[in-house]
Symmetry: C2
Subunit: 348 residues, 2 copies
């Protein structure tokens, strides 16, 4: 069996080609996804259907020479499993029954978590079994702060204002929610690893809205605890952290959580990251997905610039944010070919 | 006449107290603002009414011992003056007739700019005349990139996707829009200075969505050109730049635009900014306004932490983002008193 290049690099080895995958590589921009989505009922019905979720996970690998599949799921399966009402409305994003006080936490329970999430582990097993040699499978979860923002707001929000108000005014109460998420999320990631995930990524999409001290409290500390719990049971699985928008705090995050790799958002300058982070951590990223919507020469120039900026150390090519539905699949094909080709050119 | 502490510090002098003002210090959280707002017709009617706009600008200074007034206006007066339809819908934010191609630029013209913006200069004159000794008046404009995102999207957006698509796919065409904004904005700021503004701030609220190279093209370069044009006519007026979300690129922005001071967003770590920026630039910021919503001990602790972090160099206390309508005015009063008091304590 060929060891996947993504895994090699995450274990400190060298890869002949730059490993590449894209956030939201499975999803609405693919016509074959939209076909399955129509058949599946609600969005969560699709996530909890191992047959269909496995198929959707594998779809982009049938089209493009990607290095890895990422489990098709959503960060909000955790609150759903804890008993909070979670719905997805077409074009509207998630809607949850908001929880804004310690009292509201009483509605949550770990009793049904295992039952609700079992189909996700089954998806992981099926994808693992179906994946061709040399391809890695990435499992993932949301970081507690980001998941909490949705649980408290009841939806995506511009400024995470409700979650911040709770966290700032009543840090002890808010900690109770974060602690519950740390426990549940660590367990969820460990079970994805047990089911066959090769790599785990922790998405902290709203990390960038927190001031320095609060970032330390609500993003770094809970993530560090999850990493510790995962390493206890799965000492060798590589963990990628994604504290989106953390800016200069990427360095503190990496040091204090002890993740193996950092997924960089679109705004983090490559020059800064190469200089300050790449000596110690594997870097993943960070093409702006809007370049893939634009396509053509400008997309390839920007991809080339990123490949070059990170050529001095370990690098996994990726976007800095998820692909959007309007992305033409042909542009994705051209990009992935370019990334694979680029490495060949520069090592020959 | 007492020289305003804000001006002293911006001209490289020492101030006895830390100057303080807050973004959106005039606005919906104040009952006296809401009363005027009801009388004024549309939001732009208020902005273009020198009587009422001057009154609203001065309102927070009647309540709190702030160091400065900031002109009550909006960054979208520039597209409005250029002839693009701009409306403000209650609770919805701005709505514009989007312009997404070079052809669409033909709808814009500089012919009426002067007429449309004259009432704003009149507001500046009235506020200047009414301001007590020792208080500065801050004029402002949006940076071309940020104003362009609204002009292209037609509204506020989560990811500035339409503006990026245009900028990435057709940089020459998009440059035509940016160049027009550079010219109009530089002129607008020069006329605010001529009317009596003591300081100018350039708001680039969506700077943080741009990757490194595009940030240089669409945020730094146009801003540098505006600064150059303002300095040509008003060589001594201090200019504060606010590239919100720029992270480590705050340093490049400051160096290359040659602004005098940097307004820091809530996420920029104080430790990093003090170490990497404060030797060369005056720093303004950066309390998360959600702390003022929360209020109490936690708000004062966080304000104290910021004052301490920046005590080694020139610092203007401010929020890192605008106040929101739910902010209790009593919390603002407590905060401002604390900031003024803090400095006294630490210099005695």
């Amino acid at each position: 069996m060929i060891k996947p290049s993504l895994i090699e690099i995450l274990h400190g080895g060298q890869a002949n080609v730059t490993p590449v995958w894209l956030m939201r590589q499975a999803g609405r921009y693919l016509p074959e996804y939209r076909k399955i989505r129509e058949r599946a009922g609600t969005f969560l019905d699709l996530v909890y259907n191992p047959d269909l979720a496995a198929e959707v996970t594998l779809q982009p690998l049938k089209r493009f020479p990607l290095s890895a599949a990422i489990l098709f799921s959503d960060i909000l399966v955790v609150p759903d499993a804890l008993g909070q009402q979670v719905g997805f409305q077409a074009g509207e994003g998630p809607v949850l029954e908001p929880i804004r006080t310690v009292d509201g936490l009483k509605k949550l329970s770990r009793a049904r978590v295992e039952d609700v999430l079992n189909p996700v582990y089954e998806t992981v097993r099926r994808v693992r079994a179906a994946l061709p040699d040399g391809k890695a499978l990435i499992g993932f979860a949301g970081a507690p702060w980001t998941v909490a923002t949705y649980m408290v707001e009841g939806r995506g929000s511009k400024d995470q204002g409700e979650a911040k108000k709770w966290a700032y005014a009543d840090p002890d109460g808010f900690s109770a929610l974060i602690d519950l998420l740390v426990e549940t999320t660590a367990d969820y990631l460990n079970k994805q690893a047990a089911a066959g995930a090769d790599v785990l990524q922790i998405f902290d999409s709203w990390a960038g809205s927190l001031p320095e001290n609060e970032f330390s409290k609500w993003s770094i500390r809970p993530t560090a605890e999850i990493v510790r719990r995962v390493r206890d049971k799965n000492p060798h699985i590589p963990i990628i952290g994604f504290p989106r928008g953390a800016g200069p705090l990427y360095a503190d995050y990496a040091r204090e959580t002890s993740v193996d790799a950092l997924s960089l958002d679109t705004a983090l300058p490559q020059s800064w990251a190469a200089q300050h982070l790449q000596d110690h951590w594997i870097l993943q990223g960070n093409l702006d997905p809007k370049f893939i919507v634009a396509g053509g020469k400008r997309m390839l120039e920007e991809a080339g610039r990123i490949l070059k900026a990170f050529s001095g150390g370990p690098h996994i090519f990726n976007t800095g944010h998820g692909l959007t539905p309007e992305t033409p699949p042909d542009h994705v094909a051209e990009l992935i070919d370019f990334v694979v080709e680029w490495k060949h050119e520069n090592t020959s």
